[in-house]
Amino acid sequence: MNAVRFDHVSKAFGALKVLDDISFEIPTGQAFCLLGRSGTGKSVTLRHIVGLVQPDRGNVLVEERDIAALAGRELADVRKRMGFLFQNGALFDSMSVGDNVAFPMRRHTDWSDAEIRERATRKLADVGLDHDYDTMPSDLSGGMKKRAALARAMALDPAILLVDEPSAGLDPITAGEIDDLLVKTKQGGTTLVVVTHNIPSARVIGDAFAVLQEGRMLARGTLATLDASEEPLVQAFMHAQGGG
């Protein structure tokens, strides 16, 4: 079964065409890396998957359900199966880091307070923030915020994890640790959709890749397919040494 499928999706904001007839599918348990220059529609693609943006044309299917056709409890049920790491973290700044991670658990489970705290602490430990449960987001560095947001995205062990720039703002060692965590998460059966500029990181995490350019899919396939592509932009991307 496909975890996510885009079927001829187009989206424009006013006169600006962001996605133009995009189609792809991500089989369950696979890590799909979406590459491309800034402003090519990668984040908008992720927002379509979680239903924050509706396509103008085409369909976005999540576990074979048209996300744009869902509302209320049905939409919430689909979203509960997903985790979303926003590009800037989007931590709730009125809550501590631990409460941010505990938030989805408090909302969607009947676990006791002690159990929630214990699980949230474990999630924070996975991203190296186990001593920051009571720290407020405003007291964290950019990289720490990103890691805390990743812990929140993974709080309910989602079936589909959407990750926008996981290594942006992180030092190489921490970025490597996050890559390892994402690989471990994928090995646990979670489908990953990763937007990144960091090609070395994408090579570690990804099973399938796509390159977006001006809202269109320039190339798509495995690492070998993209490495062999003669498209100059794809070549430039695949041979980039860093990023993020």
């Binding site: 919430a76 509960k80 979303f84 926003f86 989007a90 931590l91 700044d93 909302r107």
Partner: protein
């Protein structure tokens, strides 16, 4: 040609105004419907009740006390000329309970709480925290707007009672300092012309004030754009629009009260 341009500008402005009023009204109606459906977010309501109610209390009590003193001084200056100083506590209480207390409490809360709601929700909007709530399968409207609206509808009458009471105490202090009137006599005279209808109807109308402040401020927060500049604008507009709506609705509500309870107008 120039006249046409003016007509066009005015017409566009009027249409925009109607569109905004319609959008706010729809937002308020949606809040009423959402409030009736589970989950009820009781914890959030209590949290905001504390923030809006308890944290506004010092401002309300201080303002009420000061207004009571000032009103007492003005009333004395007027009534002294007619030898009617004995009416000072009653005049003060009628003015405070029927109009000054509810309206001033509404305007103060619009400034303190309305600005806060607009800025807080606006900041959440521009920093994608509202999207993060939705992505976490939480209805952001129901989680952010509805509890604030309910909390302010509960807090407003309570704050108004505080303002009325502190105003009467302030009036007593001013009166006692000038004439040495005993507190028991002062309070007896203050409430001699006040009926339960005066207190209940004037206080209950502040539920509408609370609804208007929270709905307008939440709406402006949810529709914030353009980063921090937009947040500042949402905050300022929350205060301005809430205050205007409070004053306008006060006129209408007083008219309605007089229509259904003519005794109150006496």
């Amino acid at each position: 040609m120039q006249q046409l341009a003016v007509v066009d500008r005015v017409g566009t402005g009027v249409l925009d105004l109607f569109a905004s009023v319609g959008a706010v009204a729809t937002f308020g109606a949606r809040a009423v419907v959402a409030a009736a459906r589970p989950p009820y977010e009781a914890r959030e309501v209590l949290k905001h009740l504390y923030q809006f109610g308890c944290r506004s209390a010092p401002l309300i009590v201080t303002a009420g006390f000061a207004i009571g003193i000032v009103l007492s001084m003005h009333t004395r200056a007027s009534l002294e000329r007619f030898g009617a100083e004995a009416m000072i506590p009653a005049g003060l209480a009628i003015a405070l309970i029927r109009e000054t207390g509810p309206l001033t409490a509404g305007l103060l809360v619009a400034g303190r709480v309305g600005a806060g709601i607009g800025a807080e929700i606006g900041a959440m909007k521009v920093s994608e925290q509202i999207d993060a709530l939705e992505a976490n399968a939480v209805d952001a409207f129901k989680y952010l707007a509805v509890p604030r609206i309910l909390a302010l509808m509960i807090a407003m009458p309570l704050l108004t009672i505080m303002m009325d009471f502190s105003g009467i105490v302030g009036g007593y202090v001013a009166e006692a300092a000038v004439s040495g009137m005993p507190w028991r006599l002062n309070f007896e005279r203050a409430f001699s012309y006040i009926t339960y209808s005066d207190i209940i109807l004037a206080t209950l109308k502040t539920i509408v004030f609370g609804f208007l402040i929270a709905v307008v401020s939440s709406y402006l927060g949810f529709t914030t754009s353009r980063g921090t500049e937009g947040v500042g604008e949402a905050s300022t507009r929350s205060v301005v629009m809430s205050s205007m709506l409070i004053i306008l609705s006060d006129v209408i509500l007083v008219k309605i009260i007089f229509f259904f309870y003519p005794a109150v107008s006496g």
